[in-house]
């Protein structure tokens, strides 16, 4: 039997290849986020000082909604032609599939963030007064918080009839502590205040929910 890390790499490579060919998730996320940036910039006309306070909320809410689009695509691919059954009858461990999917989604959402952040900076005239490198830490921890739970709940909702509705209903309430930490940490860094508490909260959240998802995923995968 192949090593779990080998299966993880093979599944991740396969998902990246499928996304590269179809561009389903990236295109949907990009257009959605672009619309949010433009609509918000017309709706609000903040000065530089106000922007620093509200930008954290705007950015993360935009990325959260966009991430849901990618998360729904993740398992939709496995349902077409019931390919997931081929994985279930194989000796491959469930957690290799879960981690590959979560890492794949992390890459997709990170690419989106990399492309959209400059637009946010331009539209909202953002300049960090605190240490800007900490924004990268918050982005990485926050994105992982969204995708690890999102991948798990998307897997839970694939067999439900209204899975596009079910995913946000399950994901958003449980993401509130992470979202709060991401928004507060971003605002604190932009306004020059300390973000240490919020970063520690994000690390704790990520550790707890990654562990819980890994413990429960096999049950979710093999549920009828």
């Amino acid at each position: 039997m192949a090593a779990p890390t080998g299966i993880l790499r093979a599944t991740l490579r396969k998902d990246l290849r499928l996304e590269w060919r179809s561009k389903d998730a990236i295109n949907s996320m990009l257009f959605f986020s672009l619309l949010v940036v433009v609509v918000f910039s017309f709706s609000f006309d903040p000065n530089a000082e106000e922007s620093r306070s509200i930008a954290g909320g705007l950015i993360w809410v935009a990325f959260l909604f966009a991430a849901v689009v990618a998360l729904n695509q993740t398992w939709a691919r496995e349902l077409r032609n019931q390919v997931l059954d081929a994985y279930r009858v194989s000796p491959a461990p469930a957690n290799s599939l879960f981690l590959a999917k979560a890492i794949g989604n992390f890459i997709f959402v990170s690419v989106l963030e990399g492309l959209m952040t400059p637009l946010f900076v331009i539209f909202y005239q953002l300049r960090a007064l605190g240490p800007a490198w900490q924004l990268l830490v918050v982005a990485a921890l926050g994105t992982w918080a969204l995708v690890v739970n999102g991948t798990f709940f998307a897997a839970m909702s694939i067999r439900t009839r209204s899975r596009e509705i079910m995913l946000p209903l399950l994901l958003f309430p449980i993401s509130i502590p992470a979202l709060l930490a991401m928004v507060q940490a971003t605002a604190a860094i932009l306004t020059g205040e300390g973000a240490r508490f919020w970063i520690v909260l994000l690390v704790t959240y990520d550790l707890v929910f990654t562990t819980v998802c890994l413990l429960l995923f096999e049950t979710v995968l093999n549920a009828e």
Binding site: M1, A2, G6, K14, N81, A86, V89, S90, P91, E224
Partner: protein
């Protein structure tokens, strides 16, 4: 009753979906190295029986023992499963699909994928994505995926549907050859005449039960 030691033993198997009982107390033994055709009308429980043998459905009651094990995970490398849908990624070529599944089974022989693709009469160098294959080609590639791990037991659900008669006859010839190598084959089909001279036993199901097991197709037909 089997002439050799049973490779699969099913004891009082009941499978319910809500209030609907798809299998109503199936008890049977199946010998190693035999070719079984599972026949019956729509809703007779053929696919449910096959999915339960493949570990995809969990029995509501009763037991399934495969190669002496009641835990499917222990023997999953010995089972090949082909479903009605292709269990293949439409965006990838046949070779890319099989290379991915080979990694799930820890198959290190790089030539194995090409060998099984050729064995079902397809060209391993075909670079077209599976989504652009004809239905018959897709079925044959799906059979190649089921044969990939060189399983002792092959579970095939409607392998000949939408396959032209010439290709179907070729597939039956291949399956008979696989049986002659000592493997046990289960084929759920509505095209039983194709198996008239290839199958060793015809297993008739009706209303979630096995109602007849005969060596000759005509007798089995009479048993309905």
């Amino acid at each position: 009753m089997p002439e050799t030691a049973p490779v699969i033993t099913v004891t009082n198997l009941i499978k319910q979906f809500g209030r609907f009982a798809a299998l109503r107390g199936v008890t049977a033994e199946f010998s190693a190295g035999k070719f079984y055709a599972i026949l019956g009308d729509n809703g007779a429980g053929k696919t449910t029986l096959l999915r339960t043998l493949a570990g995809l459905n969990h029995p509501t009651r009763g037991e399934v023992s495969i190669i002496g094990s009641k835990n499917f995970r222990e023997i999953c490398t010995e089972v090949g499963y082909m479903a009605h849908p292709s269990l293949l990624y439409d965006e990838m070529s046949g070779m890319e699909n099989l290379s991915y599944f080979a990694q799930l089974y820890g198959i290190r022989d790089a030539a194995r994928c090409g060998t099984v693709i050729r064995s079902v009469g397809l060209d391993p160098d075909l670079s077209r994505p599976v989504g652009q294959y004809s239905q018959g080609m897709r079925q044959r590639m799906s059979l190649a995926r089921a044969l990939l791990n060189n399983p002792k037991i092959l579970l095939l659900d409607e392998p000949f549907s939408n396959v032209d008669i010439h290709s179907a006859v070729e597939m039956v010839r291949l399956l008979a050859h696989v049986r002659d190598e000592g493997k046990t084959i289960f084929v759920v089909t509505h095209q039983a005449t194709l198996l008239e001279h290839a199958a060793d036993e015809f297993v008739w199901m009706d209303a979630g039960k096995i109602v007849a097991r005969t060596r000759e197709f005509k007798l089995a037909e009479g048993a309905r």
